[in-house]
Amino acid sequence: MAAFTEWLKRALLEVQEYTKLAMATARCAVTRPFYWHDFVEQLDAIGIGSMTVVILTGLFTGAVLALQSGFTLDQFGARPFVGRLVSASMIKELGPVLTALMLAGRVSSGIAAELGSMVVTEQVSALRALGTDPVRKLVVPRVLAGILMTPVLTVVANTVGLLGGWVVSVQNLHVASGLYWSSVVDGLFLEDVWMGLLKPFFLGFIIVTVGCHVGLRTRGGTQGVGRATTNAVVAASVGVIAMDFFSTQLLLELLF
């Protein structure tokens, strides 16, 4: 019982500290000074740096979706509708979530490791000593870049996923190219597209704020940095799935 109470206290403390960081980030994002150079650097690190992994994930996800659903649709003689399944699955759900999970693995862990190393080598204390607010300098540029680049990367993953589905549909399933693309368009409603575009903003926020929170609370030298990196990936991945559920619920209420 005592161990459970201790665990609960620690969990509540983490939630409190995470909320404080998120609020400080929001406050610092709308007040001066703003570190433009760091923001642009993070756009590059998070956006361009994650492009390869997102393209590969999107391509193979679209391809395997077409492959699996094509043979299932065959049972109903509906193989020409494979495009509908690929586009609906990719754009509404798989594109945003898989892109976010890839970013949780790449970006959240990277941020936690970088900020964690800065904490244990006293670089964050040095920043404060030099009159620089670590939230403004380190957290705000990363969070804004994450919020902006996650939707962009999701669009890339969706596009490449549809292309992957097209290649498999044409090559393996022998569906006519024109039929595939018209099926892709038929499978989508405008609300679906909006949902697919809006969800990544929430997911991007979770990925980066979790990485920053875990990184800035790193304790215990290099071992602590390793622990923080693992914790960031786990927490961000769970956060992505949970946020996907809640944001889907919210957007269903608002859009449909």
Partner: protein, 281 residues
Amino acid sequence: MATVPETLRGPAKGRPGDEPVVVFDDVRLAFDDNVVLDGISFKLYPGFTKIFIGASGSGKSTVLKLILGLLAPDSGTITVHGQRIDGMTENELFAVRDHTGMVFQEGALFDSLTVGENVGFKLYEETDMPLADVRTRVEEVLGFVELGPYIDRKPSELSGGQRRRVAIARAMAFKPKLLLYDEPTTGLDPITALTVDAEIIKLRDLESVTSVLVTHQLRDAFYIATHGAGRTPEGHAIVNASPEKVEEADFVMLRDGKIVFEGSADELRGATDPYLRAFLS
């Protein structure tokens, strides 16, 4: 000051008319059940040096973090540059930190920046100073610590001693009135440590910077307390300090969060307290 026996306590020093730069009054701090500082009181006057010595975990580095406002005390008052800082917010503390520099234990240089960018960090990021002027100031302070040619190198390309000197240059770049040194020579060989000691002495005597030094390297502590820097036609020289100058450096011994000795280098050498003797031996 209740914890310091009268026989071990040095006088509150300062030149007539000078207001203290740092005042600790009955400061206490604990992390959960671990009492780190227990009733610490002292004053530090402009141009003087306070050298904190003591075993690892005695609370020395915590004193520096309290002066800088990186930590807040549980009770007691801390006044820095005439302003009470123990109740200040982080934003209010930034103004006080404009006049205080700190050299961290391992240097804490920013890995991703060059030596020049590290040294000019505050001037580049937090002031409106023109870039050309910042560059001039960076070259000036790197020249002071004799690392001018290293301006475009990354910290990872420097030796341990060079990194500490860059850290000193970064701390002095914005001309603070007070400099805090956290174990500046720990882990360095004796020869390299002397070059770092020399920079501390030069800053104190040539730039009139008030200093707080935390160390358990007694050799370096005594060297800094008993030497002074003077300008010469060739530049500067480190010489033995006059007896009056030696009196301007105060040693403070911490033990389990309490001050157990406060006095000059000579008083410390002459101390008869068994713990002090054991520490000095």
